[in-house]
């Protein structure tokens, strides 16, 4: 009987220390590394409705940010890869057809028109990207 008690005490003592160590581990172990750049992305669709996203990313180019947003859900895009890189045709299901009505998705970087396509637009910490549905009127 005494022996059983000793065994139980021994097992409990060891389990208690294991529990404490596990607690320390889960409290202090390095979490999955977050991206080091924080950027905001805003989508202004054909109705003028704005939808904004904030994320931390290690992406080098805007198209990678778009892929990350797609993976996270609540964002989608379509595009074609042409001679000038990625040409965005649709965002969040809104298709801009230039041939039909002169509509296109423009990219604004920190509120200025971007100089690059999405797949060559560099991403810097604090950048603000806007995808705006615009129509070219002749």
């Amino acid at each position: 009987m005494k022996n059983t008690k000793t065994i139980i005490i021994s097992v409990v003592a060891v389990l208690a220390v294991i529990a404490i160590l596990a607690g320390v581990y889960f409290a202090l172990a390095p979490k999955a590394q977050q991206g080091s750049k924080s950027v905001t992305v805003e989508v202004v669709d054909d109705q003028g409705t704005t939808k904004s996203y904030e994320l931390k990313t290690d992406a080098e180019f805007l198209s990678q940010v778009m892929d990350e947003l797609t993976k996270a859900g609540d964002f989608s895009y379509e595009g074609t890869n042409g001679d000038y890189g990625l040409y965005i045709t649709a965002i969040n299901g809104v298709t801009a057809d230039y041939d039909a009505d002169g509509a296109y998705w423009s990219i604004l970087v920190n509120d200025e028109y971007g100089m690059f396509g999405a797949d060559s637009q560099p991403v810097a910490d604090g950048d603000d990207f806007k995808f705006v549905y615009e129509v070219y009127v002749q």
């Binding site: 021994s10 060891v14 294991i18 581990y25 202090l28 172990a29």
Partner: protein, 179 residues
């Protein structure tokens, strides 16, 4: 002032008998063999248990066997940061075992000791990192190794629970034969 011409009347008491020296040599060799035999299995080792059992029979003298084992490890693997850890970590085990010696009638204090030693192995080994990189480095190093420490503690518990009694019985028989 000093008249050292007279021979010391007191018989010089030898700390180590010939038998001790032979035993310590065999123990150090056994530690190394057991270590090498099990090193393919991560975190499963019988060195802890063997040091506990040896210390129960030899007392603090087993420190010599422990450092002999550390010396052999250095000869095999070369010097590293782990050398510093080994030089003080295993003697801690010898010391605690000496303090628990009077509880020898039961195996459980020593099963718990073996297990705790495994669980805190990483914590004890992180001390050199404290001097190298400060508190944060030591803590990060320790925390990163906790899963291995837990495994180490569990396997030490099982190993000691299964093997402590057979080993002490065998050593009892050997020490009876020596008398």
């Amino acid at each position: 002032m000093y008249s050292n011409t007279e021979p010391d009347n007191k018989e010089h008491k030898k700390i180590f008998s010939v038998l001790d020296i032979a035993t310590i040599g065999v123990m150090a060799a056994l530690l190394e063999v057991v270590k090498v035999a099990l090193q393919a299995v991560p975190n499963v080792e019988l060195v802890t248990l063997l040091i506990i059992v040896f210390t129960l029979y030899l007392g603090p003298k087993s420190l010599i066997a422990v450092w002999g084992f550390v010396g052999m490890e250095c000869a095999v693997y070369g010097l590293g940061l782990w050398t510093i850890m080994y030089v003080y970590v295993w003697p801690i085990l010898v010391l605690i075992t000496c303090l628990l010696r009077k509880h020898r009638s039961s195996q459980w204090p020593f099963v718990v000791l073996a297990s705790m030693f495994g669980l805190f192995f990483g914590a004890m080994c992180s001390i050199p990192y404290f001097f190298m990189g400060g508190y944060a480095t030591a803590l990060a190093w320790w925390v990163a190794g906790i899963p291995f420490d837990i495994l180490h503690g569990v396997t030490n518990f099982i190993g000691a629970a299964v093997l402590f009694t057979p080993l002490t019985k065998a050593l009892d028989r050997i020490s009876r034969m020596q008398q």
